[in-house]
Symmetry: C4
Subunit: 290 residues, 4 copies
């Protein structure tokens, strides 16, 4: 959604838009800061509420606080709907849905006395943080990382397919070798074990007990280790490359074609500090800084 | 096996070949898609069948489904044999054997009422996926990864020999220090522990209990950590290098062959500062900046 | 704090300063060596004292040794205060506080018969090591590492925010899916589990038991693995870049400044193919091959 | 030890030296191959002997085999002593000591009816493998890896000191926070835990139980993860650099100073396929392949 089409041309709705959606004005910055604090405390509250002992003691207060946040977010949601030019488009955008999910659980809870699942959707309020982050200079860096990942997506896909095949075959092998009596109760469980092992997480909830199983696991770990070096390699190579292009070391020579040509012999290849043509000795014009 | 020698010149066998072995025609693409779906559901069925509770409930249906897949694959296998020029060469090729292994377990199961092992060979149907993948553009990427691994094979071999020696000696040391009473029941088991530790998997099924054992393990983990950085380094360096060659940053000089062509001999490959053709000595025109 | 303002101009205080704060004189080097040994043995003593069996047997001796070290460090602290030009500034500097924390626990222990906490502050004596290290040539290397980390700080921040969001959402999901009955007793505990898993530590104190939980964990581990390759990539790219600048491969062209000097203006920085000085336009002599 | 000074000038001792110490002759190659097989089977035997069930059943045969190997290695050791020019220098060299350690345990076992420790020294026979490997072309690769590690040694030292400090402080903190009742029985044990955690091994034999401990551990894991990316970065950068120098991509231009100079204008910078000077158009002499 482009800002242009969403932002009202004038009036209080434009002012409201600038406060709620942008952060160029003082009011907009203050709004963002308050939003940041409310989101973080609200998420913290959801997290703490899940702790048995805290719920027993502060359950009532947390509940009140949650309703306060819900009302605040509801007001904000309504204001957002009011001040954009195309409310439906906002409501169906990624952040529009997140904004709705941030308020709806408690209202739904009034209708259906639902269990844990419904209430815990509130944690998605965390994603609202990205709305604020989106406005910051960090997005450039995030973009660089995303570009590196996107540029490597094919290599990563190939790698994932290879790893998944390896994991399915290794899991099946271990299921056959170790069997249900050693914790490898089914092929899916064995595949879960294979993933836990090859990613070097190694919970240890299921471990090979037989000699053949341990030998196989050892082989898998060592081979796996070599294979698992690959994604790091891919991403690193990609970041290195992006990095070099963006803000790499000062080039020894100006890049070909961008350099000042000599006015007499028309040849280029002069370094940035050159005052005379290195080919014919003619004086060069002043160097434009870029 | 080159396509040329395997593909019939004309007739229904040629059409069949194009459908089954290739994916350039519409029929070939549809065939590949169906094959993909059958393979994936069949593998999923094998996996689910291994789960106790699912087997108890849907065992019969899964068995029927498995026979359907087996018959389908059998028909396909026979068709493949029929339409290639050299059936024996196909049958002994890597994919020929995989195709056979995909159908044989159930037939063998009729003869020998065998246990788990035989039936689970069916999981190798998964490898049939690579036949389909082989035809896609992802193979280029897979090749790049393979080249990076192959180019590093000697360094990796040296690394593996060093790691294996380390692991044998560390395992023996821990066996001596901790002994069978702390879970290090034999040298092979201790070596298994050393591999689990040095690859940072760390199951925790066997852990050092004595102070000396813990000190030794700490030393091994830290040293090991430094050592284990090596394969990542090797692979990354290799991928970086390949990457640079392929589509790296703009070279300081114009890439060979894209530069100005010689007006006399029409050959390229001149550097940016060349004034005369290096092939025939003719004067080159002035270099156009781009 | 610049040395200049802290170092006395003359007298015994200057001599003392040179011994205690610097390591250019023989006395200064001997002082540093003794300090190094005292710090290391003192830290070792604190560590050993925490071992039940050693405390039972050698508790008294260790206590005496600790008082000896404390008195030594106290004398040193007083001397440091005496010989610097601005004692208050030293006392409030990072190392000044560390120096105080190294001696204060035992004295405070006389007043308050405190528990473990107070006494274990003594381990911070270890940080005094960095005072000695600061004077060595290793600081250049440490600086290079620090620069690489600082240069990547924005990318690392973005990465950490992304990982933290992922970890909070994954933790909440697992709390909902697995629930308290499988060890995921609260959202914070589930987040702890998510961190343990995504960093590939994998203690195994909490593990998914349900099929959905294991599938989710598998997905998280594989996705997480790809994501976790990113910081390595960032740091590696940064170190590679620094490295290249410092002492990289031979450049295609002669490094600026080391090349042939102009016979007229004596300035360097000419590329290998230069025929005229780029600074003054004088003709350069032929290029000597090396 | 240089070959020159150790190798006899003539006679049967020279022949023996060529067989035992070198691998240029056929006899030398056969000797190496036999040695390789004997070492590997002997090490395998030591490993298998440590397995309770195998020792119970094949203990006698393994013992006989071990004596056969010991006698063979003894004969070999004596022959080595006989055929080198300076036996003492050989006996005190690294491989000389390994050769002795390979035979001595069983003889000592006759004198002292010693336990496990003595016998398991036999596993060091494995190191004899490197004597054979030393003669192969893989040493070049091993050297490249070693150079990369040596070149990074200062950065790695700084890194290790930083990690060790972190580990000591983290260990002490966890000891204070969790205490002996949660498995953190002493500071050394807590440091062991910190190493297990920061290297991402994560056995899970000791895990934080309190909320503060889990929060601290989470922080340590995430911070640690960023830090731990550093050695990989260091080694990768070093390997990349070595790689580039050794056998990097074909340079676009011949390296400065090695290129053919033009016989007329004396300028260089010609690519390998140039037949005419790009500066003045004169014919260049034929290019010498290197």
């Amino acid at each position: 959604m482009t800002s242009a089409s969403m932002k009202p041309q004038y009036g209080w709705r434009r002012t409201l838009y600038e406060i709620i959606f942008e952060s160029d004005t003082l009011a907009g910055k203050v709004f963002d800061l308050i939003l940041l604090v409310v989101i973080l405390t609200s998420v913290a509250a959801v997290m703490l509420e899940s702790v048995e002992s805290i719920r027993a003691r502060y359950g009532a207060s947390l509940n009140v606080f949650d309703w306060v946040v819900t009302v605040l977010f509801t007001v904000e949601y309504v204001l957002r709907l009011l001040c954009v030019n195309r409310p439906l488009r906002y409501a169906t955008s990624f952040f529009g849905i997140i904004d709705l999910l941030a308020v709806i659980p408690l209202y739904l809870g009034l209708v259906f006395p639902a269990g844990r699942v419904l209430v815990d959707i509130r944690i998605l309020r965390l994603l609202r943080l990205f709305r604020i982050l989106k406005l910051t200079r960090y997005m450039g860096e995030a973009d660089a990382l995303k570009r590196a990942l996107v540029a490597s997506r094919r290599k990563i896909t190939v790698f994932l397919v290879a790893v998944l095949s390896l994991v399915v075959i290794l899991g099946t092998l271990m299921y056959v070798v170790e069997g249900p009596e050693n914790g490898y109760t089914s092929i899916p469980v064995s595949i879960y074990w294979a993933i836990v092992t090859l990613t070097t997480v190694g919970f240890g909830d299921i471990t090979p007990k037989t000699a053949v199983g341990q030998a196989l696991a050892s082989l898998a770990m060592i081979t796996g280790y070599a294979i698992i070096a690959v994604p790091t390699g891919i991403v690193t190579a990609e970041i290195s490359r992006t990095r070099t292009r963006e803000d790499g070391p000062e080039p020894l020579l100006e890049p070909v074609g961008q350099a000042r040509a000599c006015p007499r012999c028309l040849k280029g290849g002069h370094t940035a500090d050159a005052r005379f043509c290195k080919h014919c000795g003619a004086a060069l014009g002043p160097h434009r800084a870029h």
